[in-house]
């Protein structure tokens, strides 16, 4: 029996797991549309390698990892790529980001898969390459690219499998372990092979007796192969599933401040990631699906669903028979660390482990908070052994340096402190705010430093240029004076060279004007446009100066007014010349713009109608509309072409 330690703090919220862990996993049928954000992981976003209209097979690579910390994205089902557009991202900010949208064709046809024939013979690098190619990221929620996490220089003596699932409501890992225990163990063996055969500890909470039994049963098959894998049952406490907390529970060691578990020879992987690695290497399947819990009182069919990555939340909610009218809050993630989503078309991504449809007052409503009474309960609850109360005061007073001195960066944002706070202060929001400000202050300071360096370099360059010029000028002046003196000495009767030079230049100018080459229409047009713009700008600037002078009752007001009047005349003249030129050539930029807009509008109308055609009740009426719209578009395009052809015809005539 492996020894179990304890970590400081932790809380015991109601588990609410029986709502969703009673029934086996249900495979959700392929939805009509899949939305794949290009950034589903920590690190740089992947780059799309497909275009609109491409046909993709299930498991085909559609976006490739960019840079070291990044992950591949694969098509979860076969179909056509209908767009590469901005859609709402599954992120607290509800911002939009680039996504690949696939309209599935229902055939669900796999791409050619390459399962490993002899996995035991694969080297560490080959295993890593397979993990990277399959686009595997951490399935516990953080979504860190696994190939990067597993690529370590230091020796690893312990592999910890995180099967704790400590957050209330979520039961995805629980059911996964009950139904896929053998594959999970196989995945763990692959991980051990990848990491140099460290011992493996599976940390699982004691509220999952069936899963514990399933894992132990799986281990009992081929006992001799699994001698260094052990199931460690830990007491149920939130957040024992936090990586650093689980490390402390199972090994008694704390991950150093600012460090990662690899610094003390430990690697943690979620149990779902282990299964995904099994799928990738043994079955050759990239990461395209995951188990997601749908739970909450508003869900009629609460339970665990095997969903394709990119399924929109509304499709899953419909399948799980969630009553949106009863839903008071829709949370992506768990009640402690999840975030509320407003747009039900938000897609599920690789790290989405739960959708919580809370009804009525199942989740406490967001309330005004009271003053901090300095009770200290938050410090008792903090699993990272921090001083949440002090961090709160500092974040509130915006004293970010002091907050950093109190180890703000070690906060795992678990929410245990906010959960115990009798004044219901949203503590985690304060810490997130403080962390954000620290980040932006640091980046601003860095940018300011760079700007200062550029500024100082520029100043130096200007000084150097000036002095270099001075030098050259001096040398040239000396040489010129000497040359002139020599010339005058040799030829005393010659005329003044300066006057001669001026005469030459004037003659050249006159010749240029008389033999002016005809300018092309484009050049002439641009010249006129520029002249008009210059006079317009001069007028604008002088008018502003005049307005300022009037406001301050400045003495230059009279002369400024005069200049403004002069410039107004000049500007109008330039504009008139420009308009005359345009009329002569039949150019009309305003009209051209209106026609372009008309073309774009009719085009958009067609697209819109085509989109609704798929789900319309009366396709025939729509077909008629579409034909009409296409005709309108044709007319608009023709008018534009006619208009654009005019100048050429005007020139010829």
């Amino acid at each position: 029996m492996h020894k179990i330690w304890n970590f400081h703090g932790g809380v015991h919220p109601n588990e609410n797991k029986t709502q969703s862990n009673q029934l086996p996993i249900v495979v959700m049928p392929t939805p009509k549309q899949l939305v794949l954000p290009l950034s589903q992981h920590i690190g740089k976003a992947a780059k799309a390698i497909v275009e609109r209209g491409d046909y993709v097979l299930k498991g085909q690579l559609i976006a490739s990892a960019q840079g070291f910390v990044s992950a591949n994205i694969h098509a979860p089902s076969s179909g056509y790529v209908s767009a590469l557009v901005e859609r709402t991202l599954p992120h607290q900010s509800a911002l939009s980001g680039p996504c690949i949208v696939i309209d599935t064709d229902g055939k669900d046809q796999w791409v050619e898969l390459n399962p490993a024939t002899n996995p035991e013979s694969l080297s560490k690098q080959e295993l890593l390459n397979l993990v990277h190619a399959a686009g595997i990221t951490g399935m516990g929620g953080a979504s860190f690219p696994s190939a990067v996490k597993l690529q370590l220089k230091s020796d690893i003596h312990t592999l910890i499998i995180n099967a704790a699932e400590c957050e209330p409501y979520i039961t995805a890992d629980d059911r996964l372990m009950r139904e896929y225990a053998d594959q999970i163990i196989a995945g763990i063996r692959l991980l051990q092979q990848l990491l140099g055969q460290p011992q493996c500890l599976i940390g699982i909470e004691d509220n999952k007796p069936e899963a514990i039994a399933a894992l132990r049963l799986a281990l009992s098959h081929n006992m001799d192969q699994h001698t260094n894998i052990e199931v460690c049952v830990i007491p149920t406490k939130y957040p024992s599933g936090g990586e650093k907390q689980l490390v402390e529970i199972l090994t008694g060691h704390q991950v150093p401040h600012g460090g990662i578990p690899a610094n003390i020879g430990i690697v943690c992987q979620n149990v779902g990631t282990a299964k995904a690695i099994f799928d990738a290497i043994i079955k050759g399947q990239p990461l395209i699906k995951r188990i997601t819990t749908v739970t909450g009182k508003a869900a009629a069919n609460a339970g665990n669903y095997e969903v394709l990555i990119g399924t929109q939340v509304e499709d899953l909610l419909a399948f799980a028979k969630v009553d949106l009218t009863r839903t008071s809050r829709l949370v992506m993630g768990g009640p402690m660390m999840g975030f509320t989503i407003q747009d039900t078309q938000t897609p599920l991504v690789k790290g989405t482990n739960c959708i919580l449809a809370a009804a009525d007052l199942e989740l406490a409503p967001v309330a005004d908070h009271h003053a901090c009474i300095r009770c200290g309960q938050c410090e008792v609850a903090c699993p990272a052994d921090l001083l949440p109360q002090q961090l709160f005061w500092f974040a509130k007073a915006e004293e970010f340096e002091k907050a950093q001195d109190h180890n703000l960066s070690d906060c795992i944002e678990c929410g245990a402190c906010a959960w115990v706070c009798p004044s219901q202060i949203p503590l985690v929001q304060y810490y997130r705010y403080a962390k954000g400000r620290v980040k932006s202050i640091n980046s601003e300071a860095r940018l300011a430093e760079l700007a200062r360096q550029r500024f100082e370099t520029r100043e130096q360059r200007l000084v150097d240029e000036k002095s270099a010029k001075e030098e050259k000028r001096k040398i040239r002046a000396v040489a010129a004076a000497a040359a002139q003196a020599a010339k005058r000495a040799a030829n005393p009767t010659e005329e003044d060279p300066i006057a001669a030079a001026l005469a030459r230049v004037n003659k050249q100018k006159q010749e240029q004007q008389t033999a002016a080459a005809p300018k092309s229409p484009e050049e002439a047009y641009k010249e006129l446009k520029t002249a008009a713009a210059i006079t317009r700008t001069k007028l604008k600037k002088t008018s502003t100066a005049l307005a300022n002078a009037k406001a301050k009752d400045h003495e230059l007001e009279a002369s400024l007014q005069q200049t403004v009047d002069q410039l107004t005349v000049k500007a109008e003249a330039a504009l008139a010349e420009l308009k005359a030129y345009e009329a002569k050539l039949g150019l009309d930029p305003e009209k051209e713009k209106t026609l372009l807009v008309a073309v774009a509008k009719t085009n958009a109308a067609i697209r819109k109608l085509e989109k609704t055609l798929a789900t319309a009740e009366d396709p025939q009426a729509l077909e008629k509309d579409i034909t009409e719209a296409k005709a309108a578009h044709q007319i608009a395009t023709q008018s534009l072409a006619d208009h654009q052809a005019k100048p050429a015809s005007a020139q010829e005539s």
Binding site: Q92, S93, H369, Q429, E444, F455, R458
Partner: protein, 196 residues
């Protein structure tokens, strides 16, 4: 009488001795320059925009070291005022509206259709963030632009816009939660709070 003379002599002696030691110390512990200016300069945003009334950030840093108010820098905003107040142990004062207001960060953008290649903006940019040459297209290097606004004035065809930066999921940050505690408000504001 003798006491009086003695008193004067003793006091004078004390004064001379102390004065001598101090004079020697003044030379021995002489301080050149003013390193405090460097520390102040490091806190300023380095936009070199001139809104504070000084030709650049370093001259303003020197002015602050000589006693000028710390609230003249709009690009630095409240963060910089706070940092300066912390450094110099003075009070935090609100930004002086005479020098400008704190605005969101913007980046310059040149409308290339209208650019005539005159290089006036290139000469104006204090951090060399505009790429181009005479009669060639000019363009702003977004990563280097500090949003100082100095290029807009010199452009003869007015083709430079100042555009605010978009928020991306990477640059997005949480806002501070609303604070509704009675003690947060000042005594002269919001008469609705009926706490004593």
């Amino acid at each position: 009488m003798q006491t009086l003379y003695l008193a004067i002599v003793i006091l004078a002696l004390l004064a001379i001795v102390f004065g001598a030691i101090l004079g020697f110390a003044a030379i021995r512990f002489k301080v050149d320059g003013d390193p405090i200016v460097d520390q102040i300069d490091n806190l300023l945003p380095q936009t070199q925009c001139g809104q504070c009334g000084h030709p650049g950030c370093r001259p303003y840093a020197e002015a602050i070291a000589n006693g000028e108010a710390i609230n003249h820098c709009p690009p630095g905003g409240e963060t910089t005022i706070k940092a300066l107040a912390d450094l110099l142990d003075v009070e935090v004062i609100p930004l002086d509206a005479e020098h400008g207001t704190e605005a969101i960060r913007t980046i310059a953008y040149i409308r290339e259709d209208e650019c005539i290649g005159c290089t006036k903006c290139i000469q104006a940019c204090p951090v060399d963030a505009i790429l181009g040459a005479a009669k060639q297209m000019h363009t702003v290097i977004i990563d280097e632009c500090t949003g100082c606004d100095l290029c807009v004035e010199p452009c003869p065809v007015d083709c430079i816009d100042m555009i605010p930066i978009d928020v991306t999921p990477v640059s997005w940050h949480w806002q501070q939660p609303e604070q509704l505690i009675a003690t947060s408000s000042l005594p002269h504001s919001h008469g609705e709070s009926d706490h004593a």
